[in-house]
């Protein structure tokens, strides 16, 4: 019995020791940031590279898990006969696969560091494709729009320049599930027409995002010292 008691006490002592070494738990950290996005390899016929701007907040749930909640406004060209506008609102879960390494836990002197992650998430998307003015006789009234849902996954890294400020670079592929808008342009007559296909259709694009984030608050949790 005494032996069991000693064993239990030594086990508890080990646990206390482990907690002392771990001085900081980042759960509950809320960041606010702005972002710039480039949309590449769009599935839409003749669609060119798009550029976007947006904002996000980031809420961390544990040492290894973070979340991004974002809004993006992206515009792109469909050759020179139409242009497309996308609004994305969604969230991503970021997982830090090598966060357990000692490199990421520097208790005293902070040094800038990279923190790689993999991410996956979901978003809602509103797209509007409009004819370039001056081409269609309907002029401006000619457009098509759709709502869709999307999933995205990719990789990225933070560059943590200070304990509270980071620049993040993310590459992710986003697949939209929803109605499909087809754009037909007759180069001979210069006539543009839209065809909407009902039902589930997959269309995707690669999004490269640079975001600037600053930790503004700690919503829960505390620092153990």
């Amino acid at each position: 019995m005494k032996l069991n008691f000693l064993f239990l006490m030594s086990f508890l002592a080990l646990q206390v020791n482990a907690q002392e070494q771990r001085t900081f738990n980042p759960a509950g950290m809320l960041s606010l940031g702005g972002r710039t996005t480039v949309s590449l390899f769009n599935d839409h016929k003749n669609e060119m590279t798009g550029t976007g701007v947006g904002g996000q907040f980031r809420l961390r749930f544990s040492d290894a898990v973070n979340t991004d909640w974002f809004f993006d406004y992206i515009t792109s060209d469909i050759l020179n006969y139409a242009h497309r506008t996308d609004y994305h609102i969604g969230w991503s879960v970021l997982f830090y696969p090598i966060n357990h390494l000692a490199y990421f836990h520097q208790p005293k002197d902070f040094k800038p560091k990279f923190r790689p992650y993999i991410l996956a998430g979901h978003c809602f998307d509103y797209s509007k494709i409009e004819a370039k003015d001056g081409i269609s006789p309907l002029d401006g009234a000619l457009y098509a729009e759709r709502w869709s849902s999307a999933v995205q996954a990719g990789i990225g890294t933070h560059l943590e320049l200070t304990p509270r400020f980071d620049i993040s670079l993310t590459g992710q592929y986003m697949i939209h599930l929803g109605n499909h808008i087809e754009t037909d342009f007759d180069f001979t007559s210069g006539t543009l027409s839209f065809h909407e296909h009902k039902g589930a259709s997959l269309a995707g694009h690669l999004l490269v995002t640079v975001s600037l984030n600053y930790k503004i608050a700690r919503l829960w949790g505390f620092t153990r010292r």
């Binding site: 702005g34 710039t36 976007g52 409009e130 370039k132 003015d133 001056g134 400020f165």
Partner: protein, 201 residues
């Protein structure tokens, strides 16, 4: 008093001034600074230079990090080189940006780097230039601005700054091809600042 004594006395007085200035560091967290100036800006794809009215506000949150917002307005009829094709260049233009700054250097002389996503607002002709009068339409274009500069904080409330910037974006609501808003510009002048919180020594 001879000339040598005067010179020595002058140097002694000057060294005292330098010493007293070294002790005061104005750039610190909670510093709020703002200014407005005229910023010549070159839209190099259009070979057109315009005059922007630029205003910014910036708050230092950490010794090296700040939050910054700024706006540019193209001065009316401010183009220094006119184009005969109104559909190729905005008739009116404004942009707003918000982002972060990173500040290098010690004491009161800083090297400033800024990255700011934003929106450019451009009013473009919607018809080829042969159609007169043309219709015009505003559009909001995703944009970003990168900025590098230097600031010298020489008093409790004032500083000098000089910056160069690059920004880009595309106007999609156009007659045919989209119009690039790629531009670089310079801005400089006198800025004003205030320490908004007292710090414990």
């Amino acid at each position: 008093m001879g000339i040598h004594q005067k010179i020595v006395g002058l140097f002694l007085a000057a060294s005292t001034l330098v010493f007293s200035q070294e002790k005061l560091i104005y750039f610190e967290p909670s510093l709020l600074r703002a200014s407005a100036t005229i910023a010549p800006t070159r839209f190099y794809n259009h070979e057109t230079t315009v005059a922007f009215i630029n205003g910014f506000m910036e708050y230092v949150v950490e010794p090296k990090i700040s939050v910054r917002g700024e706006a540019n307005f193209m001065a009316p009829n401010g183009q220094l080189l006119f184009t005969n094709s109104p559909e190729k260049f905005p008739r009116n233009f404004a942009s707003i940006y918000a982002g972060f700054g990173y500040h290098l250097g010690k004491k009161n002389w800083k090297i400033d780097l800024h990255a700011e996503p934003g929106i450019a607002l451009a009013e473009m002709a919607q018809d080829p230039y042969v159609v007169v009068p043309s219709r015009f339409q505003w559009s909001a274009c995703p944009s970003y601005m990168l900025k590098a500069g230097s600031s010298f904080y020489f008093s409790k409330y004032c500083h000098f700054f000089a910056e160069i910037n690059f920004s880009n974006g595309w106007v999609r609501k156009t007659t045919l091809s989209s119009v690039s808003l790629a531009q670089y510009g310079v801005s400089a002048g006198l800025g004003f600042h205030l320490i908004t919180q007292k710090h414990d020594e």
